[in-house]
């Protein structure tokens, strides 16, 4: 297993190199000039030239890429054209916010999607099944931004139960440890802050989690239906086990493998969903930052963001592969 993980980790390098080269090339093929955006309405040819020189945008593309790679290897991803701060400094406080939202969304997707799938499979074609599959269909069909706005409209404007946006109330003070506010609230014993952070987390998590929830529900249902028709299920029933023990203990355990795969593949969906959701909910994470940076043509931030997303995607899929071995003892990696 250790050798397998090491081999996969080494394989990350060419992947990241390829991603960085492709992203670098594509960004520079786009029309538009960051120096012009940077200087704004008052731009003069002189000021544009100065900014181009300052950020090295006047150098040939391969040279720019070479400099970028060399600096990146040394942990320097350049400076944001917008804020003039180091890209890494910009990402560090935002990344935990996105992790918090992703964890919230995964929780929603699993806690809603898996039970729906199980119940639908346990009673196929019943009212539970139809209702569950309707929820799944709605989850995958409703555009994320529309769902987000509707949730705000219902739960914040009409019911006045949950906040419209932000990660933490502006009147709440919280000592940052991990920058994952719910966790920090718990760790510091600041229950008011933890509760407030949790309330802020609900609507964005439901929004980001809606599409993966739908896919997980359908996948669980299909996988469970398949498992529940296997001989060992019949044997288990014949032995007199309770329905729950059969479905959860024997059915779900065997049906879980494809579901775990789907979660890994959906991880990209969590991140791209976060881009829209973080914008709607003013969530101070990486997704919103990327969206704004793309609008601003903030090349260094866009590049670093693509690399970060790619790295996370690959790592999560590696984690999924490792999880297989735990879920299915028959799987062994050499």
């Amino acid at each position: 297993m250790a050798r397998y993980i090491t081999r996969r980790a080494i394989a990350l390098l060419p992947i990241l190199l390829g991603v960085s080269a492709a992203a670098f090339l594509m960004i520079h093929l786009l029309p538009g000039d960051p120096a012009t955006v940077y200087v704004g309405d008052h731009a003069t040819p002189g000021s544009i030239e100065r900014v181009q020189h300052e950020f090295g945008l006047d150098k040939p593309l391969p040279v720019q890429y070479g400099i970028y790679l060399w600096n990146a290897v040394h942990g320097d991803f350049g400076e944001s054209l917008d804020s003039h701060r180091k890209v890494l400094t910009e990402f560090v406080p935002r990344f935990p916010a996105t992790i918090e939202l992703t964890l919230g969304a995964i929780t929603v997707a699993l806690c809603v999607g898996v039970p729906i799938g199980i119940m639908s499979a346990a009673k196929p074609n019943s009212i539970f099944d139809r209702l569950g599959m309707f929820v799944a269909l709605a989850g995958i069909s409703i555009p994320v931004f529309w769902l987000g706005l509707m949730l705000i409209y219902i739960f914040s404007v009409y019911v006045h139960a949950l906040p419209t946006s932000g990660q933490l109330g502006v009147n709440i003070s919280l000592i940052s440890i991990t920058r994952i506010d719910v966790l920090d609230g718990v760790l510091t014993g600041n229950w008011a802050a933890a509760g407030d952070a949790l309330r802020h987390l609900v609507l964005p998590s439901v929004t980001v989690g809606s599409i993966p929830m739908a896919i997980i529900a359908r996948m669980t249902r299909a996988s469970m239906l398949d498992a529940l028709h296997q001989d060992y299920i019949r044997t288990a029933r014949a032995k007199g086990l309770t329905g729950r023990a059969v479905v959860i203990g024997h059915g779900l355990r065997n049906a879980l493998l494809p579901v775990v795969t789907v979660i890994g593949l959906q991880f990209g969906g969590f991140l791209t969903g976060a881009i829209l959701t973080e914008t709607i909910f003013s969530w101070p994470g990486v997704g919103r930052f990327m969206y704004e940076s793309i609008s601003f043509r903030d090349y260094p931030v866009i590049l670093a963001g693509i690399l970060l997303f790619s790295l996370m995607f690959v790592l999560v899929n590696l984690l999924v592969d490792v999880l297989y071995a735990f879920l299915d003892p028959r799987i062994r990696y050499a």
Partner: protein
Amino acid sequence: MVKAPQGWRRMVISAGIVAALIAGVLFVPGSVTGWAAGPVTLIYGKSGDADSLDSPTSTNGEAYQVTTQIFNLLVRAQPGKTDIEPDLATSWSVSPDGLVWTFKLRQGVTFHDGTPWNAEAAKFNWDRWADKNNPYHAVKGGEYEYFNDFMADSFKEAKAVDPSTLQIVLKQPNSPLLQNLTIIAFQFNSPASFKQYGAEGIGQHPVGTGPYKFVEWVRDDHVTLQANPSFFRKGLPKTQRLIMRVIKDNAARFLALKSGEVQAIELPNTDDVKAAQNDPNLKIVFRPPFDTSWIKFNMNNPLFKDIRIRKAVAYAINRPAIVRGLYAGYGEVATQAMPPGMWGRASNPDPITYDPAQSKKLLAEAGYPNGFSFDFWYIPVSRPYFPQGKEIGTAIASDLNKVGIRAHLQTEDWATYLKDQRTNRFPLYMAGWIGDNGDPDDWLGFFFPKYDATSARWSYNNPAVFDLINKAKSENSQARRAQMYAQAMTLISKDLPNIWFAHARVPMLVRKNLDGLIGQPDSNEYWELVSLR
């Protein structure tokens, strides 16, 4: 058929109980106060975050909205206007040759750190802005763009004559100086704060003399400010705390206002303004029009060198109908470069009205009885002066088509669009301007200072106009300057290099219990005047 498993009912009931408990935690009515603030705290929903709170080195409007509450200027724009009123200077005079400006400074004012405001403090700031070798001048990414654009050519030195008298000595007259000093980039930082935080640090630790003291800035989320009890305008500010929250999505910002999480927002969607009109809890406050849009002829393009063609295009466009239909009731048809309320406007500059018959006649005279085709570039982003670029562009093209002029609609991303205005790529395009200060030089001086054969933006060539505008910049008398700008505007109108399109008021939405908000032309409202009931 799979048999229904036993114990399902118990599982569903358990899940129901857990869900109810979670809902109980999340939805308890008392939790509303968890993020809503008390009545002494005013929360304003902004559309973007600041880049730095060091205003002289920033050109960011979002930063200026914050620093307006923390700092002061020598002179500032009156509430709701561009006219000048005293701020940290109480009176001022200029020498007859226009080279020495003398400011009497307000006395008894202290910065938030307790150090005194005086002529030395003012000189410290001027020296920092002007002198590239000043130890506090260089700031990474900081540009001093407004100082460079509006002062650098003429500034010689700042002198502290005595603690309450500051002199600004110029190399050459700079008549718009006083109006330029109302730009937020000319705010005064505490000299002691530079020693404490350094030039790079004061952008995160602003120390001014203004109505609110800085408390914290959580990037991309909010800035918290606390009332300054020693503020020199007695009785102000009217709220104890001002929180400026960043909610970038227009719809989400509106919903935060509706829910009562914020008490005021800027830049709502047009549909949301309509909704607000019917909401008993909301009201609308307008920023006065301080912008102008126009359709720009590239006069380097052979087609548009002929004034008959330019007039034919202008007569064909039904501006009143488009402004009525696509500005949500906040627009008015422009007749010249500067918006109403500015001095130096021409009295009756624009003879062009909607007249398709006249347009066709002119086309025939110019040798194009069947019209012609060309690319018409529309603005790809929403701006107050063109709130719906594509729709307005489409309406213009449709009007032109009625007289036989076939405009092919084109656009590109905003960065490229800005860049291409300075080339000859666009034959005809949409453009606009939002004012920086209340001086005509800011409008006419930028767009009509010269001719450039390689640029659509400066493709109009009339030396008489350039002469008037450039001379007006060094003329001391405002009355004579006003005359010169009006005369230049009349000449420009006759030549029709631009079709002036619209000026637009900008709506802000506030809750009914908020009083005293006056929209500023430059978007930098004085929140010190605002109270909550």
